[in-house]
Symmetry: C2
Subunit: 435 residues, 2 copies
Amino acid sequence: MGDINIGILGCGTVGTGVAKLLMENSDIINARVGSKLHLKYVADIDTKTDRGITFEKGVFIDDAAKLINDPDIDIVVETIGGEGIAKKLMLDAINNGKHVVTANKALLAKHGNEVLGAAAENGVDLAYEASVGGCMPIIKSIRESLVGNRIESMTGILNGTCNYILSKITDDGSEFETALKGAQKNGYAEADPTLDIEGFDTAHKLAILISLAYGMNINLDDIYVEGVTKITPMDIDLASQFGYKIKLLAISKNLEDAVEARVHPTMIPCNNLLSNVNGSLNAITVTGDAVGDMMLYGHGAGMMPTASAIISDIADIARNLKHNATGRIPLLSFQQKKIKSIPILPIDETRTNYYFRFFVKDQPGVLSRIAGVLGNNDISIQSVHQKGRKSGGSVPIVMLTHKAKEASVKIAMAEIEVLDIVSDKPMLIRIEDEI
Amino acid sequence: MGDINIGILGCGTVGTGVAKLLMENSDIINARVGSKLHLKYVADIDTKTDRGITFEKGVFIDDAAKLINDPDIDIVVETIGGEGIAKKLMLDAINNGKHVVTANKALLAKHGNEVLGAAAENGVDLAYEASVGGCMPIIKSIRESLVGNRIESMTGILNGTCNYILSKITDDGSEFETALKGAQKNGYAEADPTLDIEGFDTAHKLAILISLAYGMNINLDDIYVEGVTKITPMDIDLASQFGYKIKLLAISKNLEDAVEARVHPTMIPCNNLLSNVNGSLNAITVTGDAVGDMMLYGHGAGMMPTASAIISDIADIARNLKHNATGRIPLLSFQQKKIKSIPILPIDETRTNYYFRFFVKDQPGVLSRIAGVLGNNDISIQSVHQKGRKSGGSVPIVMLTHKAKEASVKIAMAEIEVLDIVSDKPMLIRIEDEI
């Protein structure tokens, strides 16, 4: 049984999890893989803090270069995160002919074409199952299980922090800020939660997925991103009265000559399985022309679920090494020469159903003025409701629309916002009935 | 780009689907796999009936031997089904050095050790993703994605026919026979539905899964199997009043020195995602020590979902052929020499919560007599309910129990059944609160 030598860069939560799993489950991993996965080095600038692991002598080091330059190391696992030193070390490892495993979605979404290009040039595997959806095997599913399908759409809850916060608001009726503080207290949100709550983390993951699913280069810049900070308990309550839940979704649709790719709070029907995905859990539905709808569900983050996904990548690479089959699966799912530049549809061109909520003066004629603006902008109203409590002389009016174009909605919202009968910024939430 | 030559045995629903997908999506499949998957033969005794496909001249043949003996054929796809000719042809193909793909769960559950042994001896790949869960990549997930996990349990809805029937009874309150006829009319049940409704098909799938998950030889015989034919609208209605749904589940638990493996109708809490899996859809939850709970959901049968899973197997084998990496993943997930004989716990040893429903005479003292029998057999009652309508002088009494041993429950039921106050066979449904 040939040994495969592994080095882990970074011993934070994820790095510690990978080391633990490699050590504690080595019997079962080796029995499945047929090679001994040997943890040779774990490198971190802090080797003093106790990680709850007893490393063999010489394994836990503070010198990343030693790890990367060791000719015995076969696989480098990058768990440092961020784009600075992580990127440099990853490129150094690749240039040294090491295979690389990473969970670094930000790095891949922003510099993926560069690092994957370097991997291709150096003939090494670069695996990143843990970068999207934690333990859910969404990347393997797209690259391998759905290989016979034209992927038509993907809809995912890909950020546990946002899902936890929205679930909390739904269950307790708490305000966003309260729910966020609770999430931070319980370890579901970072001290600086911007990446999560503003939707950027979800967008990073979507950028990776659309590239794999549709055979295009990674393109983060053109993905529309809107976070969850403006969602109120009132909107969640109203949504439920109409049979919807509000989730932060990563949505993409394959339009053949273009791709829709957007991240925003979305109303989805309560009977959709995704609306029953609560707390910090993640899920993604992929629709293929052969499989129809297929869903994966699981822990999208956390020490051990992420470590599990990283171990699956390590095992894939170890199996390739054992059989001399590096590059067996193309880095971006499609053979490099088949990858196309497919544009992302600008959000203004998107057509969806909408939920609008206005605070208006409680007086006659209000409805006709708002409806007039919508009608002038080619937005057709499906239903109007006066629901919810009066607040400071104003009442909430809710409208659900038929499919309308985002550009028209933007113009209409700007016109309605400045009407003298409207006392607050209009709220707009997109509805997806058919996902 | 090297061509991989494929032959399909059988051109029924699944064989036709595989041929269609190979032909219609060849551009996208080849762009991903990097080899041309070439459909050389489709063999069926009936080459006259129109399958809605235009085969190239010489592809559609009635001579299976020609296909199996053609030295150009790399991969044989068996879609005949059953255990007779399918097994013979599969073994012939393996002995001819062909790699084999099959969806034949009955064959694998009953003769898997033999055919997989033949594959190992001949150094060929034998892939069977489509044998369990249709398009859901459950086999790939266990063998590859969860490679770092000790799998603790699996709970699955693995038969679309049963799930369709139970969903129908739940939605419409129809009797079992009516729901079955509806399922047959709508193509969700065979003319002879025994394999499905008696739970055997689910047991076949569970036999394959426990082998892969726990590293044991395939053992169908010791799996406890109970079908859905006795489930009444009344039980489904009562279950919902207690916050449960009734599903036909494949349940397995890893007890380390033994494995629980059983198939029976089960009450599960309404807030469990599995209870929201309706119609002919399938789903499975796998719990691993690192990932926690992970769920897959999708179409468990049907022409194109099954074909999609078969194509993923073909692609895996084609990628192995391209890189000379046959045998890269062990046939039964673990390296052959690591596979153990792990016994399946006899159903009598199982401990679960139970739902009992008795029809009893509406007279004083009834409850104390039944409770007495249960108490004498060490079965502790959690709650008692007189619910539902009187029928012919009898009233239904429902009891939910704490955890009890199946052997004791059997004895108690036999004693209760012959009491003069009991007018009908007692109904027993196992409850799983913690899956």
